[in-house]
Amino acid sequence: MSARKTDDTSGAQRPNQRPELAALDDETIAGALTRMHLIRKFEEAAEASYMRGLIHGTMHLSIGQEASAVGATLPLEAHDYILSTHRGHGHCIARGAEPKLMFAEFFGKETGYCKGRGGSMHIADVEGGNLGANGIVGGGLPIAVGVGMSIKAQKNGRVCMVFFGDGASNEGAFHEALNMASIWKLPVVFVCENNKYGMSMDISRAMAVANVADRAAAYAMPGHSVDGNDLAGVAAVAREAVARARSGEGPSLIECKTYRWRGHSKSDRNLYRSKEEIEEWRLQDPIRRLEDELKAHDRFDAPSLMKLEEDAQREIDTAVEFARTCPDPDPKDLTRDVYAI
């Protein structure tokens, strides 16, 4: 999947469509849909593996949030960076990581992205520009500032996109990072995936402002609040923020309003939210919404959409099979990567 074109001018050929959707050509759309399917299927397979006792530890699934991961990363170039979170499988796939190496990591195998040392919460694909998921809420935010400094010092024209949750925006690290990125006009795009909850704490109880994006004002940067389940809408805002960062104008804060369908982690009993609320959000399925819109505009027919989904499922099934048969690390290598030599 190399289609990353977001050709603005071609939108003129699609006059009946809203500009956000019209701006994305068919190849880009197909690539984005494939990634969204891969994320959904990855998470489903991860969950099934957990149920079958194939992994230990916990995991944070991003089912329902696919459009924010894929839409935000759509305008990124191959050499740009991302920083991710504990709920990071989606960002990783959106950035183009290989599901089979992700599953190998998830199963703790020597062939995984982090040689089985990191697991679900620490998947990184450094060569692919993914500087890592993070077990610490807000942990990636100040790191993004340093990446921005590095890009500026090296004048390499790259951009750093850092993902974090609504809950993370209550950490001091968030405020320190936005301030520094702003005073130094760093090429950083802050992407908040506001899924309404920290772990169990509703944002309305955790912060006094209505939107995370409102906080941008305190750091004199643009703050965009978007429907996080609308792939085209997220991509449009991200395109603007990435362009601003790349041109040296400084950072932006994007807030994608979305929802996680599953519990926070495997130990969540959903005591803090209602079944009705979960159902309502399931109707806002970002994948189905995009598919319906594409069909309505006759851009893709049902069989071709079905094929994208089936191909993604096949790739995930193969990835799981690959990972299961990979070797475990050898305990004699326990301290191998503690220090660089």
Binding site: H56, G116, G118, G119, H122, G167, G172, S200, L271, P329
Partner: protein, 340 residues
């Protein structure tokens, strides 16, 4: 002897460690209006490890307070509340996140009384679930207790049984100083006898879990439990091990350790935190500096965590911290070595 556990007289039931902690929290809040709980997801979620459970329903949202994800802020808020007449009990969701709260605990809570010439006190309790074994990897599995034992002004506890979890928490809430309680995550589901009444286990007293003649094994937190299991197996091999559960690492009960070593002439110290610069180094040095040194028939041996972050892979994860087999082997080798 200080090693004796206070056995309460009334009703005694089997409770899990988590239930015992919850019972202590409930009893403390019933008895004292000043006590309140706060932390991330301690309310309706019931705590990440289910420790606070239904307490929010019993005591209300004013006393069981969900906080934003702001560890430095909540640690500082505990300090402020403590110096002005409250008795805050703070939960840091995983002990690893205490790294974000270091400033308030180390620079403020630990030093305020001293800096103010004794004119204020900081009666706060911080509960910290820690340790490896759950597959949570490098940022959710650490054993950082020794860091805090290095800070004068703090007290640091590691109860290993449901009985002590309850009794030491109640003693910590009574204490006029900041007390950190490290609770090993793998202990939460373990069961034991817990008296129903509100009793205290004094801070700073180790417990002799098993008497023995040939070797002293000092363990802290879950390693005390593993040392007990190891001692049982060693007995089958004709080795009589005395097991001391440290329970409190600051203050540390050196008297109990010294008396045991005077009797057994051999010492093995077991702890999950990184071995290098850890609890075992302190205990070994205390013995080396004391007249008990002359009673040793063999070098002191430490078993501790590897010089590595905790890995995700379960095989590596086990290899990174001492296991029961390691204790059996080390103790047996030590006894043989002492005899040679």
């Amino acid at each position: 002897m200080p090693s004796e556990t206070l056995e309460a007289t009334g009703d005694v039931r089997e409770l899990s460690y988590a239930e015992a902690v919850r019972e202590a929290l409930g009893q403390a809040m019933e008895a004292d209006e000043r006590v309140f709980l706060f932390g991330e997801d301690v309310g309706v979620y019931g705590g990440a490890f289910g420790v606070s459970g239904d307490l929010v329903h019993r005591f209300g949202k004013e006393r069981v307070i969900d906080t934003p994800i702001s560890e430095l802020g909540i640690a500082g808020a505990a300090v402020g509340a403590a110096i002005t007449g409250m008795r805050p009990v703070l939960e840091i969701q995983f002990s690893d996140f205490v790294t974000l709260a270091m400033e308030q605990l180390v620079n403020q809570a630990a030093k305020i009384r001293f800096m103010f010439g004794g004119k204020a006190s900081v009666p706060m309790v911080v509960r910290l679930p820690g340790g490896s074994g759950t597959g949570a990897a490098a940022q959710h599995s650490q054993s950082l207790e020794a860091w805090f034992a290095h800070v004068p002004g703090l007290k640091v506890l590691q109860p290993s049984t449901p009985h002590d979890a309850k009794g030491m928490l109640l003693a910590a809430i009574d204490d006029p100083n900041p007390v950190l309680i490290f609770e090993h995550k793998l202990l939460y589901k373990t069961k034991g006898h817990v008296p129903a009444e509100a009793y205290r286990v004094p801070i700073g007293q180790a417990a002799i879990r098993r008497e023995g003649r040939d070797i002293t094994i000092v363990g802290s937190s879950i390693m005390a439990r593993k040392a007990e299991a190891a001692a049982e197996r060693l007995a089958g091999d004709g080795i009589s091990a005395e097991v001391i559960d440290l329970r409190s690492i600051r203050p540390i009960d050196f008297t109990t350790i010294a008396e045991s070593v005077r009797k057994t002439h051999r010492l093995l110290v077991v702890y999950e935190g990184v071995k290098t610069m850890g609890i075992g180094a302190e205990i070994s040095a205390m013995i080396a500096e004391s007249e008990v040194f002359d009673f040793l028939d063999a070098p002191i041996i430490r078993l501790g965590g590897a010089d590595s972050p905790i890995p995700y892979n379960p095989v590596l994860e086990k290899a990174a911290v001492p296991q029961e087999d390691d204790i059996v082997t080390a103790a047996a080798n030590l006894v043989r070595r002492g005899e040679a």
